[in-house]
Symmetry: C2
Subunit: 367 residues, 2 copies
Amino acid sequence: MTPVALCAPDKLRGALDAHEAAQAMAEGCRQAGWDAIEHPLADGGEGTCDAIVRGRGGRREMINTRDAIGRPRKATLGVLPDGSCVVEAAEAIGLMHIPRNRRDVMRATSAGIAPLVLAALELGAPRIVVGLGGSATVDGGLGLLIGLGLKAFDSDGNVLRGRGMDLPAVARLELSGLDPRLARTELVVALDVDSPLAGPRGAAPVFGPQKGATPEQVIVLDDALARLEALYGERARRPGAGAAGGLGAACFLLGAKPIPGAELVMQETGFADQLARVELVLTAEGAVDAQSAAGKTVARVAQAAHSAGLPCVIFGGRVDDDAAALYEIGASAVLGISRGVKPIREALRSSGDDLRAAARAVCTLVS
Amino acid sequence: MTPVALCAPDKLRGALDAHEAAQAMAEGCRQAGWDAIEHPLADGGEGTCDAIVRGRGGRREMINTRDAIGRPRKATLGVLPDGSCVVEAAEAIGLMHIPRNRRDVMRATSAGIAPLVLAALELGAPRIVVGLGGSATVDGGLGLLIGLGLKAFDSDGNVLRGRGMDLPAVARLELSGLDPRLARTELVVALDVDSPLAGPRGAAPVFGPQKGATPEQVIVLDDALARLEALYGERARRPGAGAAGGLGAACFLLGAKPIPGAELVMQETGFADQLARVELVLTAEGAVDAQSAAGKTVARVAQAAHSAGLPCVIFGGRVDDDAAALYEIGASAVLGISRGVKPIREALRSSGDDLRAAARAVCTLVS
């Protein structure tokens, strides 16, 4: 009988999305005489909606919204067969939509996620999955909350908007205006960091700089987030509150249940069921390193494969020395896919070919 | 029982010699809990003497000689336990010893090989193996022959030396002065090309340019080699005569038996016997491409492993798309070792680490 490989990669950022990566790997498997199941994954950030909709079936709706700096933008809302909806924060307010020279944490707001959540509520979704990660904001999720009906006031009672620059002035929140449908909807938030909202490990100092924050802005925002934390109250004070510039805290305030992003995507796409159908599991991501071993998609795939008694090969566009930690959690092989020295542009462009060749090699070897 | 891998790479030019490569691979195997046999190989060119002496035991003697442009140089002569000697042409007259700006095919001569051959005769070697490849010369092997006692004259009866510039004047050869011990010694010449001495596929047009020949010099030398071919006679007119700037023809004139370089090294080092002791074969070379499949070391290793029913993984610093042809001759996997995009210098420097990581991955996978 023809052996079957499960091709379950995350994206290779800058080179291939998870779907393209899965296709390339599957082609390589087939060249080696194997059958292949394409099962793209994601880590709760970019690509999460796509991976879940591909895995579960369902549809994509384009929702009119705005990006982090307020420009009109259409963003995808995933609608699953059971009516659940998948909201991917980065689809609306992702950092990748903002040119480097226009990144501005003081102007940026998570308000653009609200239309996606409202659309899901409108569809009567019994359950909304929110994937965080990759946001261009450090607004503590205030923009999202305001978009859902919360009101924020300064000490003079003026109504505030939810941009970074508004945070320092927030003196009081009024939650009563929050959309009542939220209370009847199960909220799940996919996140991969356990950072708190404020403090040295908080949203501003750790992720602010890559979103364009100056050192001064980091201080101002961290200070403001500390006060926002107090206003949000105990409910929002959980590990991961600092995810996506504080969107984590806002989701907690709305009663969301956290789940590691990679695990969420694997659950939602029925990854575990696929394992029974295959002889080999292949996964991949752009950069495989010690962080990968700490719970990124490839690590969870390797663990799941190992538990199922299946060999699992992890491919990386880049593989650091400390990626060897993945062997300890059950990886059968950790391999770079690059087939030579080339400029980064060319390397990114050849990732599909490289991945195909690597998958072919592994399948032929395991045959 | 602990499984054993045979680590039998060629050199990765510019990065690792075959011995270093074998060591790195073996380390990776051991990290994966395997035992490893280090069995460096070569293709008859650079590294041939080292690989054979390491594989068979024996000793290295340093012989005073000259490089291709006449500078004093010590070159290694391999002396095997049975008294056989290994002469590696590149050890004396290798292109790698000549700085790019001093490469000069008109001045270059293969004379520097003669002291190595004479030393072997002096030691009473019953058999001399000559590895060609990598020479800086296009002298038709005339320098070597003169060094062994042949005399070359111009049309006025003047004695000629054996440099490129002397070739056009050669009108007559006198073979009677050749060292008589040569006739009692078995000569084997390792070569990998089947090019003729002269003509469009000959030594001058095909290999001259990389040795610094100008287009004009190529024409002059090719013309001269065609006349030398006639003077050498039928005995030297065999495929491979054009190897190493025509050294092949000179060896044939001396009665040498040709053998593909990679095969010679495998035979001399008892490669076939090792196969019975292992569960897996790993090999490697710098660039794996269609040429590799056409009989370079990695291809012969893969074929031998395949015939023995063993899986064989081929690693390459660079792996071209057309390297997939290696699957057709029995390779189990063809994999690039690079673990990311880096400048060529850094990539060469990290080859050992990359090879170790790749070997570890493969052994863990096959376990």
